[in-house]
Symmetry: C2
Subunit: 185 residues, 2 copies
Amino acid sequence: MKLTNLQQDFVLHFGEMGSRWGINRTVGQIYALLFLSSEPLNAEQITEGLGVSRSNTSMGLKELQAWNLVRLRHFPGDRRDYFTTPEDMWEITRILIAERKKREIDPTLTKLRELEMQAPAGDDYAEARIAELREMIELMTGFYDDMEKLETERLVKMMTLGSKIAGLIDKTSGALTLGRRKEVK
Amino acid sequence: MKLTNLQQDFVLHFGEMGSRWGINRTVGQIYALLFLSSEPLNAEQITEGLGVSRSNTSMGLKELQAWNLVRLRHFPGDRRDYFTTPEDMWEITRILIAERKKREIDPTLTKLRELEMQAPAGDDYAEARIAELREMIELMTGFYDDMEKLETERLVKMMTLGSKIAGLIDKTSGALTLGRRKEVK
DNA sequence: TCTAAATTTCAGAAATTACTGAAATCACAG
DNA sequence: CTGTGATTTCAGTAATTTCTGAAATTTAGA
């Protein structure tokens, strides 16, 4: 398993970015390698391609599976495990966001609600701030949950239109300004 | 600077989450403490409140300033620096997203474009995959840039409406279905 | 059941990151 | 200037995370 320059460069970048993304270098590199491979790879190929220990590859693959970022594949007459990333970029994106939300946001949302329950009713400012933070997180995650449900095609349209869509929202009414085209100029 | 139970609990949680968020424990705790304080705090108060070394507080505050997450304040007749977080939850959110984008996404987008430029024209699959990834990142960051421009009020409306908005988008036309209410039932 | 390949586990080593205390620097009132 | 308080820097240490190699476990065909 000799990497091309392109693969090498991409893999090293993902390794370096790994720590910023909350994964370690090897995990980043394994993912990068699988992402660029049209064929599924087994642990031995990955180990050789990256120049890390076999056990490190094993642990890295385990973590990627915990993140739900890789898929297991098998070939007839070969009992080794082969790994791939999902083909569909949208699926990958959804998984990434969902998993980061689970690890980085959900525990805090739970904690904030817990703190509000206990309500020691002493520090008004702190309590208000916590409520504000919880509300913000709920608004953002609620919006995401909503977007998540859309078909990819609509989602792309919507994202492409971007703020143009916002022009449709009437600031004061709280309803969409349907059937009434805004005067231009 | 004695912390209330509520503050203590919140601060410890932010410390623990810090590593998942790409900051260290102390930085998380300092931010949490400032976030809950109605009054600006100086480094000495933070040090005492958290039970860390003065130098650690100094480094943590420096990092929070690099993240643009705290504001410096001064009082007449007192030459110490006092720190606060912005009052406005939306401002905090915008800063957080912008800074994470800068650290976690922009370097990769740059690298992907660089890889596409060099174009070794050997590995078609890898090249296509890189292009796909770049396009996805551009779509998402472009959408964010667009949202970012909106007034808070419109943004809240839009997020609250969520997928209801998507119903307005005509899947095939690529344009908004303005002035033509969809038949219901 | 036995065997060998495939994979995982795990204790210790290596690398990295976080933290401290002491010294250096800075800033400003007198 | 000078002296004092505030802040930063930084070398060394502590804590944590990552990685490896060897041993243990799992798996499936013979």
